[in-house]
């Protein structure tokens, strides 16, 4: 489904939640699945997506950061990321 949050804009003044971050990552990166934990300020996201295949770690993490734009470091105080390319068995 389409995200109800505009890219790069704070969705709301309410504190961010792991559920919100999960929904936005999965909406923002095609085919992604995300597990997000956090306390409203510091979050940890484990993200798998086929789109990560063949990308450097930096590029993978940038895709995740890009979902949140300037909210990272602001409304989302800290976002720790681990990325995995899904369907890795298909990588030659």
């Amino acid at each position: 489904m389409a995200s109800r949050y505009a890219k790069g804009m704070a969705a709301t003044d309410a504190p961010a939640t792991p559920a919100e971050l999960k929904e936005r990552i999965e909406a923002g990166i095609p085919g992604a699945t995300a597990e997000v934990s956090g306390d409203g300020h510091h979050f940890n996201a484990v993200v798998s997506a086929p789109a990560f295949q063949g990308m450097s770690r930096i590029a993978q993490h940038r895709l995740v950061y890009d979902v949140f734009g300037t909210e990272v470091g602001d409304r989302i105080h800290a976002l720790s990321i681990q990325t995995k390319a899904s369907e890795t068995e298909n990588i030659a």
Binding site: R57, I58, H61, R62, Y65, T70, V72, G73, A78, L79, S80, I81, Q82
Partner: protein, 133 residues
Amino acid sequence: MSDEQTTQIREAIQSAISENPVILFMKGTPDQPMCGFSARTVAILQHVGTPFAAVNILPDPRIRQELSGLSNWPTIPQLFIDGEFVGGCDIVTEMYESGELQTALGVEDANGSEPAPEPPAQEPAPLSIENRL
């Protein structure tokens, strides 16, 4: 702020990155990190034993602004090796655990399989620190 000052900060960042083989932009200093992610990254670099320059981004918000503009990376810390952006705390941790960091730094891979070291509570180590920004 004047454009001229902003340009000066950007140029100072660029020359610091090109002049220091290993440089970490962080919150606080290696002796007194002001953020857990910066502390963890410092602890890894110290454990690996490579000398590194460190720049505290906290004194002037424009440092972070210009740095993130250059690196296209929103968070701090940011590690550069040989002029190349390597990553932040998460990527440095993963690279340390896989041994890639040691390879990139040209140091021995003796501890590659160890979990990343936790930052010491208060244990400043001697370092070459450059903080002219």
